[in-house]
């Protein structure tokens, strides 16, 4: 195999490809958590706050429970408990409302290249990936809730948390 050296044709091609990929990522968008080229749709529903973000291009997630990166397009939904501090329903662009501290369920759809570095596994995907995390409870936690979510009708989401 021919080794590419700086200045050679193969080397130039490789650098061009890397440059194109970088421009594609930064040109279409770049976001870290809620900052950057990212939009959010917030829906106040029956006891639930449905917080969905849309991120084209390169997006990085640094929260421990969903750490990872996508180069392509990401749609990420968090279903949280509705409280008085919850943002109003609407579409947000630029400055997004605070991301919920605790999600009862998560739905992540990614097109492109994705890398995940959070539990339960480290993974990468090239293509399409759709993941719904319906429950994740640590040992010793006493929880009881009833959650319904329709991706096509987020305003119909229902979350009922039972307290002892």
């Amino acid at each position: 195999m021919e080794r590419s050296v700086p200045g050679s044709r193969a080397g130039r091609c490789r650098w061009r490809a890397l440059l194109t990929l970088s421009l594609l990522a930064t040109g279409t968008g770049c976001a870290i958590n809620g900052l950057g080229t990212i939009a959010a749709r917030v829906e106040r529903a029956d006891g639930a706050l449905v917080y969905t973000t849309y991120a084209p291009g390169l997006s990085l997630r640094t929260r421990a429970e969903e750490r990872g990166a996508v180069l392509g397009f990401t749609e990420r939904t968090c279903i949280a408990l509705l409280d008085v501090r919850a943002p109003l329903s609407g579409f947000y662009l630029g400055r997004l409302p605070a991301y919920p501290a605790h999600c009862y369920a998560r739905h992540l759809t990614a097109w492109g290249t994705e890398l995940r570095t959070s539990a339960p596994d480290f993974s990468f995907t090239v293509g399409y990936r759709d993941t719904a995390l319906l429950a994740w409870v640590h040992e010793g936690e006493d929880v009881s809730y009833d959650l319904y979510y329709d991706t096509t009708r987020p305003s119909h989401t229902h979350l009922e948390v039972h307290t002892p």
């Binding site: 990936r129 994740w136 409870v137």
Partner: protein
């Protein structure tokens, strides 16, 4: 077209997925994962991995095993999951989950909570206040794990 999740197949977890779940041995974890393309994964303990080229779909309902360690408590879980899928994408889901003491109460039929008469898992409709929902195109799982 809505496709029911083949839970019978889905719950027969692959060896790699079981390996991945070893890092979750003391956690309740319910998830659905679909990929199309190239997907590679390794568990956090780096003891098992997988590489899938093409289409892959998993539904994982992982509950803590009953392990007797002296007088230590074991996590109790009561869980019902209803999942609707259209093509590759999840379109709706309903999750009813109780852990710890709440799970024990729920397993008793909710006689001590919510005024009693809590419906069993099998009766959980896909949509709240809509018992006539299309249950034929969905899948419901029932998990129940108890410890002393």
């Amino acid at each position: 077209m809505k496709t029911p999740i083949p839970l019978g197949v889905g719950l027969l977890l692959s060896v790699t997925m079981l390996g991945a779940c070893t890092s979750l041995s003391k956690q309740v974890y319910v998830a659905s994962d679909t990929s199309l393309g190239v997907n590679g994964a390794v568990n956090t303990a780096q003891t098992a991995g997988k590489l899938v080229i093409g289409y892959d779909r998993k539904f994982v309902a992982f509950v803590p095993k009953i392990i007797y360690e002296g007088d230590s408590d074991v996590m109790a879980v009561y869980n019902c999951t209803h999942l609707e899928v259209q093509g590759l994408r999840i379109t709706a889901f309903r999750e009813r989950l109780a852990t710890g003491d709440a799970a024990t109460i729920a397993d008793d039929g909710g006689q001590q909570s919510n005024g009693g008469n809590k419906p069993p898992c099998a009766a959980v409709p896909s949509k709240p206040n809509n018992p006539a929902a299309d249950s034929a195109t969905s899948a419901t799982t029932q998990g129940d794990s108890h410890g002393n």
